[in-house]
């Protein structure tokens, strides 16, 4: 009995995990975190109307979800002024990125992203045998001209660009992005990840003709809508690309209560606006806490703030560990020089109290260990 014969590609893949979840870390440390502000979750939670819709639909969970996410898809289309045929609802952006990579990336195909950008995208590309070409960040931001130029050089099938970006929180004006679409190489698809765009200044989302076949954009209910655990995201793109998802997606893969919650959340614009305000206030407090500790916070258009610890990756890692030991769960960028920072989520007052208490000692300890 030799067991299953995996594909050569699968046999070559490592058993990696893109992220270690906070629950796993809590089990390892034996006690819960005081502040869970490391996974870019939205601590202010979903609209009460979304919660109510999910609770109501929990009693109807014996039914499969609507395989076409009809109502949600129509509401999203109306929100964006596009046709329902331009919207694909899926199991979070993570799930949709997996489908997209599967649609276009065969083994050996070139894909371009930034060195240090979203690891789950890279995980999917590796998982389908794509070859990743990485472009460095420029001034702590993803560098679209360099990404497009690299895409042309390597004949990339996909080029990933997040606006705002994770993990640094940077953003570019939408007009600047729209002006560069002419530089998207023939046969390359620009993957515009807008997971955090609701937190960003007006005009951050570029105006792009929805039938422009050079671009697919991704949005989510995980961030501004506060529903990370529900797993609802969507793609906006030209109708032929949206139809292509139907060739491979898990048609009955959506949680029924999540569909209902997303629909209700989308309709509560007031809650969204309040959330965005609360997040902005929390970003301000994080920056103030950083400053009080002699650190600088980078500008952010997201629900997290990259805080420069003033040293290298080793120092930042030590700060992160010190915060963790004091019950404050945060994460940090993977790649130099961005890994001089830690990434702190917009927390509640209580979360940020915990941060404020823990940071001085964590910092002192880290500096000591770095000597």
């Amino acid at each position: 009995m030799t067991g299953p014969r995996y594909t050569p590609l699968v046999a070559s893949l490592p058993e990696t995990v893109p992220f270690v979840g906070p629950e796993t870390q809590e089990r390892e440390r034996g006690t819960p975190f005081r502040a869970r502000i490391g996974a870019n979750e939205n601590v202010f939670g979903p609209s009460p109307r979304a919660i109510e819709a999910m609770q109501r639909e929990s009693a109807e969970i014996w039914k499969y979800g609507d395989s076409t996410s009809y109502e949600l898809r129509h509401a999203i289309a109306a929100e964006h002024g596009v046709a329902p045929e331009n919207v694909m609802v899926g199991e979070g952006i993570d799930g949709l990125l997996g489908y997209l990579v599967r649609l276009v990336v065969a083994q050996g195909d070139a894909v371009v992203t930034s060195d240090g950008a979203y690891p789950t995208f890279n995980y999917h590309v590796a998982g389908f045998g794509g070859v990743l070409h990485k472009v460095p960040y420029k001034d702590d931001a993803e560098d679209l001209p360099a990404l497009l130029s690299k895409a042309a050089e390597v004949d990339a099938k996909l080029v990933y660009f997040a606006n705002p970006d994770n993990p640094m929180g940077s953003w570019k004006p939408g007009a600047e992005i729209a002006a560069q679409l002419g530089a998207v190489p023939e046969g390359t698809l620009l993957v515009l990840d807008e997971a955090y765009v609701e937190f960003a200044p007006e005009g951050t989302a570029p105006e792009i003709d929805i039938e422009d076949s050079r671009v697919v954009r991704f949005r989510t209910f995980s961030k501004a809508y506060g529903m990370a655990g529900a797993r609802v995201g969507y793609a906006l793109a030209a109708a032929p690309l949206i139809r292509a998802f139907d060739k491979i997606r898990n048609h009955f893969g959506m949680n029924r209560a999540a569909q209902a919650g997303a629909l209700a959340g989308l309709q509560d614009r007031e809650w969204l606006e309040q959330t965005v305000e609360k997040v902005a206030a929390a970003r301000g407090r994080i920056a103030a806490i950083a400053q009080a500790n002699g650190l600088s916070a980078l500008p952010s258009a997201t629900n997290f703030v990259a805080v420069d610890c003033g040293g290298d990756g080793t120092l930042a890692k030590a700060v992160l560990a010190g915060l963790g030991a004091r019950g404050v769960f945060v994460r940090m960028p993977f790649v130099a020089p961005q890994n001089r920072c830690i990434r702190i989520g917009a927390g509640t007052e209580s979360d940020l109290d915990a941060l404020e208490e823990a940071l001085p000692a964590a910092l002192a300890e880290a500096r000591e260990s770095a000597v």
Copy 2:
């Protein structure tokens, strides 16, 4: 602008949909069904404890689900007397089948199933470029000896066998399956789909050493646990195969409320037992309704009953259409001679009242149109 360059495999795939959902059908007919008993859902619903857990966790949905489904996985392991390392929780059996096929099926690889068995498995195999070899049903049941023999003949990487089976509801004693494991060819993995096994007589689930690398079994919370819309299933297998899922799965793909609901549902054994009794009673009533209309119901160990309409697929299709026109949603097998039947789900009393009312006229109409 030519748009994205799809992989040659994807370009070759049809834009098929394994099933048209009842919501889609309702929109087309302009009115809801009276009885939704066509999708093998469990109308008796989940344990009230599961509903309560999902409702509670809906308020915590801002957090991603635990990427390791730790608590649920450990509870499942205890339930089956295996180690947590032998359990992979995933987005329903559909999602897990997709992962499994991706793990082992490269383009051109042979896969064996029964002609007329679960279409979503076939959808995944086609989606990864596998070559399906189909074995006919024997006496309205999947024919394991013939499946294994075909697997040897074509050097299959996977052989799919559902026990009990869908769409006919047949089942084999577990001992009979266990006795045939020696005939699983070297390098072939037996995919034992036990989605409906909780409804089946004691002893239907074979005793198989969990570290036996020839077999992977699938279970779900969609059927007996009444949580189809939650999307929670699991694989039971040797630890190395379970670990392999970690190479490709969507690690943060599980809905957080669904994880909590499944855990609570698993712990309510009494509700499960009551459900199994209600389903058995409903099967009995379906058989009685069939008999009263001069039709015969096939034996079933599931939550649906295949009813032989006494003609060919055209007649059965007309009966199905007649029931649908009268507000009773059912489905039917795709392949002859099984498509002489319609597949009727174990409904509530009210659902089966609707069936009882609708069937005589649907049948008369169908017979008339068949003349």
